[in-house]
Symmetry: C2
C-alpha cells in the first residue's frame, strides 16, 4: 500500500509535488509565435500550458490517455434514494466490459484506454445513516485500488464512477465538509421524483446528525460518509500528483470525491481540471467552492466519466493546434506590431 | 447562379424547407432505449435529433463533414480598424493551403474536409463609410460562391471566415439590422487597443449615417455594409438548407453573416447551431438575439471556423454514443420503473 494510514495521506497532502513552471513558460513562448492573434485560442492555450506544467514537458503529449471508472455499491441505497435498483451497478460494469455504454463510445473516439474497476460490489458500504460506511482499513484499501489503477506513465487521466445511490454519498460529503444543509447539495441523480428527493435529503440529514463528532476530520468523513469508488478516485488523484499526470474530473460524484483532500490542502486541485459542468444540481456550487471552471456545459449527468471523456477531445484539439501550427516566421505572415 | 436577384433570395426565404420530424422522433425513441437514465447525455442527445431532422435520416451520419472558410478583404480596413495589415488575409489563406493554421489542425482531428475559398482578395469591398461596400451584382456573386462551395451531399457543414477588418463589418451589420449603437456591437477583434476601438466605433457610426435610407432592407444592407466572405457564408447556409445539411456556425463574424437572412425569416437558423461563444464582445448578444445557444464557451476568438470545428468533435461524441450504445434489453440492464 502507498498509504498505510490516514496520517500517510495527511503527510503527502502537506507537501504536494509542484508542476514545472519552466515547461509551462515554454508553451506560452511558443504560443506567442504561432500564426494567430495573442490568446485567441482562449482556454485551449491555457490547457496546453497546464498539460506541460504537470507532465513536466516543454512539449506535452497525449500518447497514452487513461480513463478510470471506479464502481462501488452503497448501503444507503436501502433508503430508496435512486431511481434504479442496486443490481444496476454490476449490470453496468458488465455493459462497460461488453462495450455497450456511453463511455465505451466516447473513449474510443477520444483514443483513450478505458479501465473499469469494480470494487467489492458484493459488499456494499454500510448505510451511513446507521453506521460508518467504511472503517479506516476499508477506506485505505479502496484508496489503494485507485492509486494502483492510475498508470504511472500515462499522459492524462480522466476519472469517473458508477454506483447506484452515489449522488447521495457525494452530497453528504459536500454537506459535511463544505457546509450548508442537505438541500444545498442534493439533486435528482439518475432522475428521482420529489418523494425520492425528500428521501435523499432525509438520509443526508440523518447521516450528518449521526456522525456529528467526526465532521472536523476530512479523512474520517471520507471513510464514514463516503464510498469505495469515491475513495478510489481520491487515491487515483494522489497517484497522478505523485507521477506528474494531469487529471480531468468528471461530474458531481467524481468532484465530491476529492473534497476531503481539498480540506487537507486546497492545492490538490492544481493538477486537475473539471471536464464539464454536470446537470446534477450540486455540481455548479461544488465547482465554485473548489475554484474549478468546467470546460464543457452540455447538460450531461450520466457519470461513468462521460463528461471528462468528451473533454479529452478538447485537450486533443488544443494540443494539435500547439504542435501543428506554423509560426509567423515559418508561414511568412505579418505579425502584429509589438 | 442559384439566386439571380435579391428577390430570388427573398422568395426562397419565404418558404424555407422543413426538416424531418419523423427522423427526429426516431432518434428520441432509440435514445429512450439506450443504457442511460433518460436525457442524461443532455445536449448530446438533442444534437443527434437535430442531425437526424435536417439530414432527413433516422440514423444520422457524419461520414462527410466539410469546413468552409471564406476569405475577403474590406475597404474599411483603410480606417485602421485592425491590429494587422490587410495583406494578412492573403498570407493566412496561404497558411491554410500549407496546413499551418489552427483550422488545419482541428479539421484534421475532426475528420473534416477543409475548403478555403478566397474571394477576390485583390479587390476589397469599398469602404462603407464612404460608399456601398458592394453593388447588387457583386453581392449576388459572393453569395453564389458560398452556395456552390457547400457540397450538396455532405452530412455537416461548418462555416467560418478570414478577413482583416471584418469584425467591423460584422458589427455594422448587427447595428444596422438589430439596432443599438455602435458600442453595443463593437469589440477588440484581433486585439485593437482603445484608440483602435474608437476608430471602429466611428467607422460604424459613419456607415449607419451614410446608409440610413436602406437600413429597412436586409439584403440591401448585406450588400452595402457587408463583405464578400459574409455574403458567401449566407449563400452556403441557403445551400445547406436546400440540400438537407445541418450547419455549425463559427463566431461573431460568421453569425453576423446570417443576420440579413434572419430578418427575412427567423426560421433560417433552425438548421444551424452555434459552435461556440466567441470572446469577441458582440457575440453573446448576437446569439441571444438569434435564439442560438452555443455549444462551447472556451474564450476562443480566432475565426477561421476554429470554434465550429472544435464543436464537430462534440457531434462525433454524440453520434458515437447514439450509434454504438447497447439498449437496456441488449445489455440485460434493469431499466427504471416506468
Amino acid at each position: 500500500m502507498q498509504f498505510c494510514s490516514l496520517d500517510d495521506i495527511r503527510a503527502f497532502c502537506r507537501d504536494l509535488p509542484d508542476g514545472s513552471e519552466h515547461a509551462a513558460r515554454a508553451v506560452v513562448r511558443r504560443q506567442q509565435a504561432l500564426t494567430k492573434p495573442p490568446q485567441s485560442l482562449g482556454r485551449l492555450e491555457d490547457l496546453v500550458a497546464w498539460l506541460a506544467r504537470w507532465q513536466g514537458r516543454e512539449c506535452p503529449q497525449l500518447e497514452r490517455v487513461t480513463i478510470a471508472v471506479f464502481a462501488g455499491n452503497h448501503g444507503v441505497a436501502a433508503r430508496n434514494v435512486s431511481a434504479y435498483p442496486q443490481a444496476v451497478t454490476q449490470q453496468m460494469v458488465a455493459n462497460f466490459a461488453n462495450g455497450g455504454a456511453a463511455i465505451n463510445q466516447i473513449a474510443g473516439l477520444a483514443g483513450a484506454e478505458l479501465r473499469v474497476v469494480p470494487i467489492e460490489l458484493d459488499r456494499p458500504t454500510r448505510d451511513f445513516t446507521a453506521a460508518p460506511a467504511m472503517d479506516t482499513d476499508e477506506f485505505l484499501s479502496a484508496v489503494d485500488v485507485g492509486y494502483r489503477t492510475a498508470p504511472p506513465n500515462c499522459d492524462l487521466l480522466a476519472v469517473g464512477e458508477m454506483g447506484i445511490a452515489n449522488t447521495t454519498t457525494a452530497a453528504v460529503l459536500c454537506a459535511a465538509l463544505l457546509g450548508g444543509d442537505a438541500a444545498r447539495w442534493v439533486g435528482r441523480g439518475t432522475g428521482v421524483d420529489d418523494a425520492g428527493l425528500a428521501r435523499k435529503r432525509a438520509a443526508i440529514e440523518a447521516a450528518l446528525g449521526r456522525h456529528r463528532a467526526i465532521l472536523g476530520d476530512p479523512l474520517a468523513v471520507a471513510a464514514a460518509l463516503g464510498g469505495r469508488e469515491l475513495a478510489a478516485i481520491a487515491g487515483a488523484i494522489l497517484a497522478a500528483r505523485r507521477n506528474g499526470i494531469p487529471v480531468l474530473l468528471d461530474g458531481f460524484v467524481a468532484t465530491a470525491a476529492i473534497v476531503p483532500l481539498t480540506r487537507l490542502n486546497a492545492g490538490i486541485t492544481d493538477h486537475c481540471r473539471a471536464g464539464h459542468l454536470s446537470a446534477e444540481s450540486g455540481h455548479r456550487l461544488l465547482l465554485q467552492e473548489l475554484g474549478l471552471d468546467p470546460l464543457l456545459d452540455l447538460g450531461m449527468r450520466l457519470g461513468e466519466a462521460s463528461g471528462a471523456a468528451v473533454a479529452i477531445l478538447l485537450l486533443r484539439a488544443a494540443l494539435a493546434c500547439h504542435t501543428g501550427m506554423a509560426t509567423f516566421t515559418e508561414a511568412g505572415v505579418a505579425d502584429v506590431d509589438k
